[in-house]
Amino acid sequence: MSPATEAPALLRVEDLEVAFRVPGGEVVASRGVSLEARAGETLGLVGESGSGKSVLCRAVLRLLPRPAASVRRGKILFDGTDLLGLPEPRMREIRGADIAMVFQNPMTSLSPVWPLGDQITEGLRLHRGLSRKAAREAGIALMQATGIPEPARRYDDYPWQWSGGMLQRAVIAMAMACSPRLLLADEPTTALDVTIQEQILALLSELQAAKGMALVLVSHDIGVVAETCDRIAVMYAGTVVETGPAAEVLANPRHPYTLGLMGSRPDMDGDDRRLRPIPGQPPDLARRSPGCPFADRCVFVSDECRTAQVALTACAPGHASACLFPERVQ
């Protein structure tokens, strides 16, 4: 893991709020989300389903379903430019070239009717104007870099001929095609076998180190994030509740939810074999009540928590928490 650099953040999300119109009202999927990703650094985004992680990734690429979803507030700064204000054609130039995304399920990320090589190099032909021949060469090189054996022979294969792990490598190759400066990986290993997960994570780290790009790794599994990330941002109920250097956050969590997440991991080495889930359910995002969203499930809760406004505040250098009483978290 490379040490965090002091370079300015490549990606900077400021106070983002995303709402979805649903029959019967609306759901605020993200509220007050702020975070940063730096070049050469891996940011882990952790949270359970519905915490807003995927919404955030899609918001960055402006892939949220219109007209259902709308960004109500905030900025998404990429290298200083607010992506939310860009005209669509300019945004299309950025997608796939400067910012790329790896999706969760490799089996459905690729179209079954086009050959893999074609799909991997599509970005190259589109953004860099490569000819078919040049693209083919580049594609084979990409496949090699992502650990796909015999790339020249497999270039014309179809997705249904490959396994999940190989397909995810292809998806990564596809995302890396134009050497993006920021890669968003949305649960890239969730749909894969445990043994393959390790390989894919290692691959992502390798590529990141080689290209010096910023990597945002989204996962619901804090274990996955712990191994590969420099910094961590923990999300709950649509907001970021804690951010900081990975080692620091994991050793000294400053938010009850983070503590709960770590405690709920199955521990094969300890004496106590029981699983310890966090009691309760995440709040209904269609109905927002004031105060801390975690209040109903928090073991350290007090009355103030249910009424006061919560926001990320620093509790140590580079380490921020949205808890009103971070010192209580042990």
Binding site: R95, G96, M101, T108, S111
Partner: protein, 312 residues
């Protein structure tokens, strides 16, 4: 090439059905209550004439032998002889084949041109009002008889506006297109709503597939995504739906041919029935089933062309 292997395989699979079809066609004449030959000759027949026709049709032989000859002849292209029209059935059918096939193709193309854009539009705008309107229009169109639609089109476009001829086939290719426009449109209007419903669902699936989102994340424009990914993925269900409904397409064309006096297989069938021309009816039975089979085969071939997974 795989095409030949594919066709051979499909034909082989069709053999049991073809046998069933020929059996049905063959038995038709034998189930006529009364004496089929006498009915055909309509009473102006002497004993000798009746016996002669029996011999000519080979109906004096045992059933199994007759069936064998029927199938054997059919394979050689001989579908029997029409006593009433005094000509080989195969020739009579052949003369009327072109207008029917032209009409069916024309109607299919118009149906697709009508249904696909509307289905795409309906899938793209899953709002409540547009959806309800399309569903209602679909329900109403479903209940509209093809002969009624045809007559109304004749009234407006043929008789009142005089834009299109109301009968016949025309003499050259352009003439065909002109004469058959209203009949083809009639079939398309009656088949269209059936298609739109299913297409809308298929379009929705294709448009919300994850690989479409992935393509968008790569920076492809909406139109490129539509043509490269969505339409290609949706083409398969379109072909399925068309193939499944071929029976209705042909049934509709039988009626439409009568409405517009297009001298195709449909009108021939109706004529054969009213003149009790049993050999002709038998031949037509086989031909219609063959039409359905050929269309199914073409659909399967189209699938295999689009989606490699299907190829043997």
């Amino acid at each position: 090439m795989w095409v030949l292997r594919f066709i051979a395989l499909r034909l082989l699979q069709a053999v049991p059905v073809l046998l069933g079809v020929t059996l049905v066609a063959f038995l038709a004449i034998h189930f006529v209550p009364g004496d089929p030959v006498r009915i055909m000759l309509q009473g102006r027949a002497s004993e000798a004439a009746v016996a002669e026709v029996y011999a000519r049709l080979g109906m004096d032989k045992p059933l199994l032998v007759q069936y064998a000859r029927f199938v054997g002849n059919a394979l050689a292209g001989d579908l029997g002889t029409s006593i009433i029209q005094r000509a080989p059935v195969a020739k009579i059918v052949w003369d009327r084949l072109v207008p029917s096939v032209f009409l069916l193709t024309y109607a299919t193309i118009l149906s697709v041109l009508l249904a696909v854009p509307l289905a795409v539009w309906a899938a793209a705008r899953r709002q409540r009002l547009a959806d309800h309107v399309i569903r209602l229009v679909g329900t109403v169109s479903f209940a509209m008889p093809s002969f009624w639609i045809g007559l109304i089109l004749i009234l407006f476009f043929g008789l009142t506006l005089k834009w299109f001829p109301i009968s016949g086939f025309g003499r050259d290719f352009l003439g065909h297109l002109h004469h058959l426009f209203l009949p083809a449109l009639t079939i398309a209007l009656f088949l269209g709503p059936l298609l739109i419903q299913s297409l809308r669902a298929a379009m929705l699936d294709a448009m919300t597939a994850e690989h479409v989102e992935v393509a968008r994340a790569k920076g492809l424009s909406e139109s490129r995504i539509l043509f490269k990914y969505v339409l290609r993925a949706a083409a398969i269900p379109v072909i399925t739906i068309l193939a499944v409904n071929i029976g209705w397409l042909i049934s509709g064309s039988v009626i439409v041919e009568s409405v517009f006096s297009v001298s195709g297989l449909g009108m021939l069938l109706v004529h054969a029935v009213s003149t009790r021309d049993y050999p002709l009816i038998q031949g037509l039975t086989v031909v219609f089933a063959l039409l359905v089979l050929v269309v199914s085969l073409l659909a399967d071939l189209a699938y295999a062309l689009i989606d490699r997974r299907v190829r043997p």
